[in-house]
Amino acid sequence: MVEALTIVLAAGVTRGWRSALFGLGAAVVVLTAIVAVLGPALTLIPISALRLVVGALLLAFGLQWLRKAILRASGFKALHDEAAIYAEELAEARTAGREERAGMDWYGFTLSFKGVLLEGLEVAFIVVTFGSAQGNIALAAVAAGAALVLVATVGVLVRAPLARVPENTLKFAVGVMLTTFGIFWSAEGAGADWPGGDASLPGVLIFVIAVSFASVVLLRRRRVAVAAA
């Protein structure tokens, strides 16, 4: 959401707010439609099969997030710099040609629409998978909507990319949560019985956190050793 805000701000500042906000609105409509169609469709699948599929998807998806966050935290990958990305988007948007369609700057609309849609798909994916596996898509959608309103409000207030948000820490936390639920649900879906049922979820969470921090420590040591050699 933070990245989407950066793109909408860049589109609004350089190409006009009308086209940027129309692009944002159109993308939110598409994302809402995706959740509205996919969510109820997924709840028709038997819960064990659903947890197996959703768990496997979350695990593959969560490991991607966790891997990137660990590489960033250990210095093997550059940290996300929203201010630099914003400057890059601004420069690109300023040099692009102007094409008016239906009274709107088409470049600004497309930039905003694509940015929000692509970044928002990750959110829609999490809403649909978490919501369907827990049988409460509405609650997951409301939580995502609240986060969207929070990011948009802060964005409007500061009128700048949210450069001070500890983005890698947030992504690290999201990666840990996705991986934890992915392990829990996919094992359940595969037929395993967790000792204590849902009560073992915190244990899985602690395990994933411990493995992630140990990975960061080991990779940092390796980085220092390579730099010293």
Binding site: L63, R67, G191, A192, S215
Partner: protein, 69 residues
Amino acid sequence: MSHVAAFGRFWWDFVVGDDWRAAAGVLVAIGITAALAAAGLAAWWFLPPAVAVVLWLSLRRAVAQEERS
């Protein structure tokens, strides 16, 4: 590229990402968990360490690639 291929490519990148071996490792680990459960054995303990191994191998590949470049 056809629209179907582009659509497939997008979802592949979205879910699998740049390390397909990690995603394959996850599927193998879930398969072994299912096999243990089907055999009537305790299966819950297998997936967490298996995921830790998959993650560590994926990190090692990324670091090796980073160090080569």
